[in-house]
Symmetry: C2
DNA sequence: CCTCACATGTAATGAGTTACATGATTGG
DNA sequence: CCAATCATGTAACTCATTACATGTGAGG
């Protein structure tokens, strides 16, 4: 999938600016698909505007810079549907964290612990984001399915990580002020 | 992570040819980290050879073409360790399957079913691959941890998918003996 | 005052994929 | 004979990231 399709998908739900799209991809409702930087989002929007897949409207705001709000067109919806049908019908579980875990004997214990804790922090953060999104997702919607899937997978990862901590030779984590589940 | 680091990691376990690396990344013990094509693997090996991170040995085989077997050097191990320490300490759950699921209302039911079944097939296949790898992974090793993680996550995904089938409006899957079209 | 959040964009660069190009051998 | 598997490699191309470039307004 490319950034164009991602943006089109987001705009199919609601109009948005490039900045808002970035935020949604970074953290929000659309953070579980692919990554995208400003350097790919803005050109994608410009390109789609030229192709008539989106329209733009400049919005003046009080106390904030001018915002260019993009809306999807009928042609855009058609293009999205088309792209959707062309996407591969499988995806892969790939993890760079696992790659690092693979070499646990070859790195310093301190580093392994940092990596493990980093992944743990990520997983808990991810779960929190998902729970947050679950609030605003209506039951039976695509969003609800996505959040349910994410929650199932992330929870399983957390559980396995917690169980594995000692077997990797890592010290027990004394809970300082963390949010327990 | 780049393909160079991936290859180096694989070679840290055992010597291999470019072709063998590709197979291991496609299907085998090293299929859960990043993807890599011949077009990236061969140049990576050539590059690392020039840098002295690996050595090469040409191996004649009966009934098969000549094979170039690469082995990691001490400098290679050092470089690997270095790269490992520089990798990001988090990774992301990204899924293009979920993106498609998001638009379940906007695609034809037939397509949604194909995508769903495709993902299901992938998950079961993945689980089978992992179980297979578990046989050859010695307990307590990095491989064992990786396989355990993969198994936990993939199992959770399968369970959620099975539970969600009907709620997505998909027909119950009759155990496939009459799957011929 | 200075930094952060908001907001938009471009250009150089880099990393990888796809398609191309070749060729041996085995099995149906 | 033809397809598949084994095996190595290159070149054009795509796509996205990073760094650059600019500017406003709010709040500590």
């Amino acid at each position: 999938m490319n950034v164009r399709t991602l943006c089109l998908g987001i705009l199919a739900f609601d109009e948005a600016s490039g900045y808002e799209i970035k935020k949604a991809v970074e953290d929000g409702m659309f953070s579980h698909f692919i990554e995208a930087s400003y350097g790919s989002i803005y050109p994608a929007l410009t390109h789609m505007l030229a192709d008539g897949l989106v329209t733009v409207r400049e919005q003046l705001q009080e106390g904030k810079p001018l915002k260019k709000v993009y809306s999807i067109t009928e042609a855009g919806r058609k293009a999205l549907k088309n792209s959707l049908h062309e996407l591969p019908q499988q995806d892969k579980f790939k993890s760079e964290f696992l790659f690092q875990a693979l070499f646990r004997d070859q790195v310093e214990m301190k580093h392994l612990e940092a990596v493990f804790d980093g992944q743990m922090a990520f997983l808990y953060d991810e779960l929190a984001t998902i729970e947050e999104c679950r609030q605003s997702a209506e039951p039976g919607s695509g969003h609800a399915f996505v959040n349910g899937y994410g929650r199932a997978v992330v929870s399983a990862a957390i559980q396995y990580m917690e169980e594995s901590r000692s077997s990797l030779g890592l010290p027990e984590k004394t809970i300082s002020s963390d949010a327990a589940e």
